[in-house]
């Protein structure tokens, strides 16, 4: 499966970034779910970071990863803070069936971002000239 995504900015961000239009996130019971438009942040090496409101809405605190297992996060400027992390299910339309990943949250996150660990599930081509992000999930992995 191979899907191309817009590289242009989304309506709610002033920063140019590619996006994946439809990522569905569910809690492990499958009882709560939400569709997210997410931005790709290649400087973030987790799977997915979401604002606290979404984390609470999906009741992800029921599936939290022990904080000892989650290292303190460091930003480019050297600031450190602790994340809350939960196991969750995600699905990407036309591309990825239900998969368990770790989702992070912090009060400082204002919009959902996907990071390199999620990107590493795919073959990703960032075509700057065409302003397109191409994601491929190899058929033999399905």
């Amino acid at each position: 499966m191979n899907v191309e995504y817009s590289y242009e900015k989304t309506g709610y961000s002033n920063i140019l970034a590619p996006k994946i239009p439809e990522l569905t996130i569910k809690n492990l019971l499958g009882s709560k779910q939400k569709s997210l438009n997410v931005l790709l942040d290649t400087g973030y090496d987790g799977f997915l970071v979401i604002p606290e409101e979404i984390y609470e809405d999906l009741e992800l605190h029921t599936f939290e990863v022990m904080e000892d297992e989650i290292p303190i996060v460091e930003t480019f400027s050297g600031e450190k803070f602790i994340l809350r992390t939960a196991n969750t299910l995600i699905e990407v339309e036309e591309l990825l069936d239900e998969t368990i990943i770790e989702v992070d949250t912090t009060p400082y996150c204002k919009e959902p971002l996907i990071g390199r660990q999620l990107l590493e599930l795919f073959i990703a081509v960032l075509d700057g000239r065409e302003k397109i992000l191409k994601l491929e999930y190899p058929e033999n992995d399905v």
């Binding site: 942040d41 599936f63 290292p71």
Partner: protein, 129 residues
């Protein structure tokens, strides 16, 4: 962002604060914003979920050595301040959460000893302090 005039600030505290902010390379407004955020955070009262989290954390701390010795690699569920179940997969954990109607309550669900990659936010521009 608003410009504010603040009266009745203690002179010594203000002088020291301003010097410290300069030393850290922060504008006074930035430093005061951070100080206000820290102060507000410290005033937060604990919610029911926060209390559950603390209880679960305490249980984990007590059991940590045993878990790493006897349950290494297994999925663990800690909730209601107790070690509730373990399994080789997530299935028994999910069943237990359903059986005990724990959805919405704080629980820890994790694989003992699983290495979690360190998180770094490259430029941190959209993860704002």
């Amino acid at each position: 962002m608003p410009n504010v005039l603040i009266r009745d600030v203690d002179t010594d505290t203000y002088t020291n604060f301003k010097a410290k902010a300069a030393q850290e390379g922060l504008k006074l407004g930035e430093a005061i914003t951070k100080a206000m955020q820290v102060w507000m955070e410290s005033k937060k009262t604990l919610t029911k979920k926060d209390k559950q989290r603390q209880m679960n954390l305490l249980t984990y701390r007590k059991l940590k050595t045993t878990l790493h010795k006897e349950y290494f690699g297994k999925w663990i569920l800690i909730g209601q301040g107790e070690f509730l179940t373990s399994g080789d997969t997530l299935d028994p954990i999910i069943s237990k959460i359903k059986d005990l109607k724990l959805e919405g309550e704080h629980c820890f669900v994790f694989q003992v000893g699983k290495e979690v990659q360190k998180r770094t936010f490259g430029f941190g521009r959209r993860v704002q302090r």
